[in-house]
């Protein structure tokens, strides 16, 4: 059993299985795999590996990149193990066989706060992430239990989503058609023009803040608010949205 940067490769009766952990950011997973395949290209050439993806959900383009990574290394994917229905569907669509059941090593994931409304079960570890910094910053607004924050350093474009159980900070914009769903608070260091749902697991004290707060829809816990009509020009006016007396109010921030 080999372990490198959190990625485990096991030899089983069925062949070589790559265990892709859920808590490591995908970009790191990709670069580790790429490096490994390059370093030991002779060993992996023409190999056929099983991918154990556990409960990790994938976006279309992430799954695509994963496939391409293996393709470029000359490795074929024998099959996929996954707990996640969306991942399973994607595999089926692409003609990749679904095998047995994922390794026990994945089942550490639990959800502490079951959601009343949306039937979401947000993972404790980041579901979708990009390059996270080496050290986690102190939580901006320590509103969520759990204390871990997700730090996303890119602009979210239409169709892209972030789902996370803790706080989420985004350095960039959230474009219309993009979505951020957090168990904790959401801070956007840029323009929030898409959909944001803070306190998604029922935390009414969660807040949403942005440099430019112009979302298509704003939700905190079980309250929903729409952007007022005709906001006109986007003023640079940092604002924060919170629940007060049962409704969402927006205040000037800082």
């Amino acid at each position: 059993m080999l372990q490198e940067a959190g990625i485990t490769i096991k030899g089983t009766r069925d062949g070589l299985t790559v265990l892709v952990p859920s808590e490591i950011p995908l970009a790191d997973v990709f670069s580790t795999l790429r490096e490994k395949f390059q370093k030991e290209s002779a060993f992996f050439q023409d190999a056929s590996l099983i991918l154990d993806l556990g409960p990790r959900p994938f976006q279309e383009e992430e799954f695509q990149s994963l496939q391409e990574l293996f393709q470029n290394a000359g490795i074929s994917i024998k099959g996929i193990l996954s707990d996640n229905p969306i991942t399973k569907l994607m595999a089926k669509e692409r003609g990749i066989p679904l095998l047995g059941s994922p390794s026990i090593m994945h089942s550490r994931v639990r959800v502490d706060h079951p959601i009343k409304r949306d039937r979401l079960s947000l993972p404790q570890k980041p579901a979708v992430s990009s390059q996270a910094p080496k050290e986690m910053p102190k939580p901006v607004a320590a509103m969520s239990k759990g204390g871990q924050a997700l730090f996303v350093r890119k602009t979210l474009r239409a169709g892209q989503k972030i789902h996370f159980a803790g706080d989420v900070a985004i350095l960039g914009d959230v474009n219309p058609g993009a979505e951020v769903v957090a168990g904790g608070s959401i801070m956007v260091f840029g323009a929030l023009r898409g959909m944001a749902h803070a306190g998604a697991e029922g935390l009414r004290e969660a807040v949403v803040a942005a440099i430019v707060l112009a979302p298509t829809q704003l939700r905190i816990a079980d309250c929903i608010a729409r952007a007022p009509e005709g906001r006109g020009e986007t003023k640079v006016l940092p604002e924060i949205a919170k629940i007060q007396d049962g409704v969402i109010v927006i205040e000037k921030h800082m």
Partner: protein
């Protein structure tokens, strides 16, 4: 070694096919050897815009399925230009009759013979889109200054950026200066606040485009057409990527947002 450019948009009707025809004709007029590929299987129209609709014998599906000996048999030479060719789409088949691997192979073959290969992408993000981008190195995203077009363009850019290889550049099409001046139409700065990719050019709304499509003569051939002029300038920038496009910015849009965007881009 040729360059393979895919012209895409997400939304339909914003001017991908017109752009492909005009850029192709313009590049050919500038002396390049150009081939255009229409990948909108089932709803072909690049041939119509170029006025080549009565020359079609074989099409893209025939090429990838081996019904003709090679792409050379399906390729139509546009006699008005020295070096412009078209591989038309099929009218009666299905987008699933072509797959991304076949497109990649075709583009690799064409790269040996042509300076530029322009791929006209169908609307949407499904199979047709995947086919069109498979063989391409670079992407040109076409949009109009209209909310749903920009939203769809953003989606497309998100998909392209995930692959890190396409270097998407923007063409803003059908701009009406008067409406922008009166604040009734989004300006390029407004669009860029959302899309934020390198700008290739701005094409004004022009009646000459309708006439040119009626006649099957791309507007880039017409010295009197403002849209044609814009396309000719874009052709120059395609050939010479160091020509930086600086549209006149009015200073709208927040300084702070731009500042933060600058940081976001730098660290992304």
């Amino acid at each position: 070694m040729g360059k393979v450019l895919v012209i895409t948009s997400g939304k339909g009707g914003v001017g991908k096919t017109t752009a492909t025809a005009n850029l192709g004709a313009g590049l050919a007029m500038a002396g390049n050897k150009v081939v255009l590929i229409d990948t909108d299987i089932g709803l072909r129209n690049l041939d119509l815009v170029l006025g080549l609709e009565n020359r079609i014998v074989f099409d893209l599906v025939d090429v990838v399925q081996g019904k003709c000996r090679s792409y050379k048999q399906a390729m139509i030479k546009d006699k008005r230009f020295e070096s412009l060719f078209l591989i038309p789409a099929s009218q009666s088949k299905d987008k699933e009759d072509v797959n991304p691997e076949q497109m990649r192979q075709l583009c690799n073959q064409l790269k040996e013979e042509f300076d530029y290969i322009l791929i006209d992408c169908p609307a949407g993000i499904e199979h047709g889109f995947k086919n069109a981008v498979a063989g391409a190195h670079e992407a040109i995203v076409v949009t109009t200054p209209e909310v749903s077009a920009v939203r769809d363009a953003d989606r497309i850019i998100g998909l392209l950026e995930a692959s890190e290889k396409y270097n998407p550049r923007l063409i803003l099409n059908r701009v009406r200066k008067e409406m922008v001046r009166k604040g009734q139409m989004m300006a390029i700065e407004d669009v860029q606040e959302i899309l934020n990719i390198a700008l290739l050019g701005i094409v004004p709304e022009d009646e000459a485009i309708v006439v040119s499509s009626n006649k099957g003569e791309p507007a880039v051939m017409d010295p009197g057409s403002k849209a044609g002029q814009a396309y000719r300038q874009i052709v120059e920038r395609i050939q010479n990527p160091s020509l930086v496009y600086t549209p006149d910015l009015n200073g709208n849009g927040s300084f702070l947002t731009k500042l933060f965007k600058f940081f976001a881009k730098a660290e992304a």
